[in-house]
């Protein structure tokens, strides 16, 4: 075969849903991978022009610098409330929030629980890295027992700081939630799985199935004080031991057709 007959095809292209700027996250940080997965799925579903994302407060506060579609930056913990206002106003748009563990599992617990409970037809990506990254590595609600942070110098002591919160397990008990799952971005296999779940969550919103949240375990080598390679191992060995991967709730019923009425409301209607 002649050299000139060889057709070079691009096998990898930057997602159109990402701006053409370099990521400024730390080496080995999971946000970069998660941003890319979300952008690729939005491209593949061809929803970029009707998607509105919400950036959290935390390391991903600058998500609007990277995502190439309409973006809101909301107050710490409030993205599910802001998403509610957006989706109720523009029901045909695709609305997602991107939140860290401090944002979603500490200061914003009220907002996430009630958005899920209302069955808001939104998608939430919950990035759990067991620490407050942006502020320099303090204890998060998801910090593991014994984990050293800048506010738990001798390791998290559960007798004074409580246990790490398992948000996915908790939200899976909520009637209004359609899809609740936990995945990770530590290995190619899990990254592929994360992408599948991200796609499923967006599809649920497109199909009006109601609230979905994908929790993604994500390494923070900088604040864990590890190399990226070591951080991936720690995530696998320590985090996954406490936070089991899996799908905790999957209710593919159309939210419009869900029979949520209890006996009491049936009685009230008949009165």
């Amino acid at each position: 075969m002649n050299a000139k007959d060889v057709k070079v095809e691009k096998t990898v292209e930057k997602a159109r849903s990402l701006k053409n700027v370099p990521f400024r996250y730390c080496p080995g940080c999971g946000h970069t991978i998660i941003h890319r997965l979300i952008a690729e799925v939005i491209d593949e579903l061809n929803i970029r022009e009707r998607t509105i994302g919400i950036a959290p407060v935390g390391c991903a506060v600058f998500a609007y610098d990277y995502f190439n579609f309409d973006m809101l930056e909301a107050a710490h913990g409030r993205p599910p409330a802001a998403a509610t206002g957006m989706k109720r106003t523009l029901p045909d748009k695709i609305v997602f929030s991107y939140q860290g563990d401090g944002d979603l599992a500490a200061i914003g617990t009220g907002e996430i629980i009630h958005a899920a409970n209302r069955g808001e037809n939104i998608t939430v990506f919950f990035v759990n890295n067991a620490t407050y990254g942006m502020t320099g590595g303090q204890m998060a609600p998801t910090t593991l027992p014994g984990q050293v942070t800048t506010t738990t110098h001798v390791g998290r002591e559960i007798n004074t700081t409580g246990y790490p919160l398992r948000m996915s397990e908790m939200l899976a008990t909520i009637e209004g939630a359609a899809l609740i799952a936990r995945t990770a971005v530590d290995s190619p296999e899990n990254i592929r799985n994360a992408k599948k779940l991200i796609e499923k969550a967006f599809k649920y919103q497109i199909e009006d199935k109601g609230f979905s949240m994908i929790e993604i375990l994500s390494p923070c080598p900088t604040n864990w004080g590890m190399t990226p390679a070591r951080a991936a191992i720690w995530l696998r060995e320590e985090m996954m031991h406490y936070y089991k991967l899996g799908v905790f709730k999957d209710n593919p019923t159309d939210s419009q057709n869900q029979t949520k009425s209890s006996g009491v409301s049936a009685v009230m209607r008949s009165l």
């Binding site: 509105i52 973006m71 930056e73 107050a75 409330a81 206002g85």
Partner: protein, 348 residues
């Protein structure tokens, strides 16, 4: 046009709907519960969305989201709830988003009581949350004015891309009186090209209040300050009664103005040269008008249902040109016209 008879809170809700409010979120608190109740019944039929939020914080952030999408959005509450909303109000101001926020004030501090009060004046006109920002603050004193100013609030919020507060109190919200429900006439307003509604056919929009680049936030603040200056130049609203020859001018707003006009009329009948000045916009405050009256030699008395808040702005406006007195009752105590008459009769 036929008159309507409604409670202040309900007239406010209906005026908002007529003005094109398409999103309302709120949390129950006395004495403003008729607003979410009315909205829940009526707004969906007008093509809007009502959400009973899990907290005041969630409610204001829902309004933040709806407003970012370009919808006319409103929330309402009363004093303790408004304190909770301050985070979101600061974010609205920083992100330059329009919104209407209603405060039907009750007595404070703390849980206080549910009586009429004007103790949230400072919080309303000085910003309220963190950062250098102002709200345009409207203070109605009749149900008619609640109707008119609610419509105006939506227009001004859009015009300035700034949150507007309607500062009422439990009497105004709860009382029922006839008013003329004048139809809403929308003025020409700039298109919301900044709104988040999908980037089809344009570059993506970003709505945010974070400006960490070198000098970026300072520049943003100058933009905001310029906006507040334009409000001061264009949007000062006030009403006067018998001030032409007045030696003593009572300054009061909202329900205190209802009480004051009564006392002033009683004093006029006895030949006293007393007048009344009622700021309708509390920010921008009618400082120039008050200053001019002070230069003419008139003495002032601020009458408020608090321990003395607006009186500070009256003093700043007067700037030493004449005397400024104060009469008020804090903690939900309501002044009667007779009581005020007695207090004023020896001052003029």
């Amino acid at each position: 046009m036929n008159k309507a008879l409604m409670k202040g809170n309900e007239a406010l809700a209906l005026a908002a709907i007529h003005a094109g409010c398409k999103f309302y979120a709120g949390y129950p608190i006395t004495p403003q519960n008729e607003i979410p109740e009315y909205m829940s019944r009526t707004l969906p039929a007008w093509g809007g969305a009502f959400v009973q939020a899990e907290s005041e914080i969630a409610a204001i952030n829902m309004v933040f989201g709806a407003s970012a999408c370009g919808a006319r959005a409103m929330t309402s509450s009363s004093s303790p709830g408004i304190s909770l909303k301050q985070e979101g109000i600061s974010f609205l101001a920083g992100a330059e988003l329009p919104a209407v926020i209603v405060n039907m004030q009750r007595g404070g501090p703390g849980l206080g009581n549910i009586s009429a009060s004007q103790a949230d004046y400072f919080q309303a006109v000085k910003g309220g949350g963190h950062g250098d920002y102002r709200l345009l603050v409207l203070a109605p004193f009749t149900v008619q004015e609640i109707w008119d100013l609610t419509m105006l609030a939506f227009d001004k919020a859009d015009e300035y891309r700034n949150p507007v507060m309607i500062l009422g109190d439990s009497i105004l919200g709860q009382m029922m009186e006839p008013f003329i429900p004048t139809p809403y006439m929308k003025p020409a307003l700039p298109e919301k090209t900044w709104a988040l509604n999908g980037c089809a056919g344009r570059q993506p929009n970003v709505v945010k209040s974070l400006f960490v680049g070198e000098g970026e936030l300072e520049e943003k603040n100058y933009v905001l300050q310029d906006k507040y200056r334009r409000m001061k130049a264009k949007d000062v609203r006030f009403q006067t009664q018998d001030i032409e020859d007045a030696e003593l001018i009572v300054v009061s707003f909202g329900i205190a103005a209802r009480i004051s006009t009564e006392a002033v009329s009683m004093l006029r009948k006895t030949g006293k040269r007393v007048g009344h000045f009622r700021p309708i916009t509390l920010f921008p405050f009618p400082e120039k008008q008050i200053h001019d009256l002070a230069r003419r030699g008139a003495k002032f008395i601020a009458v408020e249902l608090n321990a003395g808040q607006m009186v500070e702005d009256v003093r700043l406006a007067v700037n030493g040109k004449s005397e400024v007195l104060f009469y008020g009752r804090p903690g939900g105590g309501v002044i009667t016209p007779e009581e005020l008459y007695d207090r004023l009769k020896d001052e003029c």
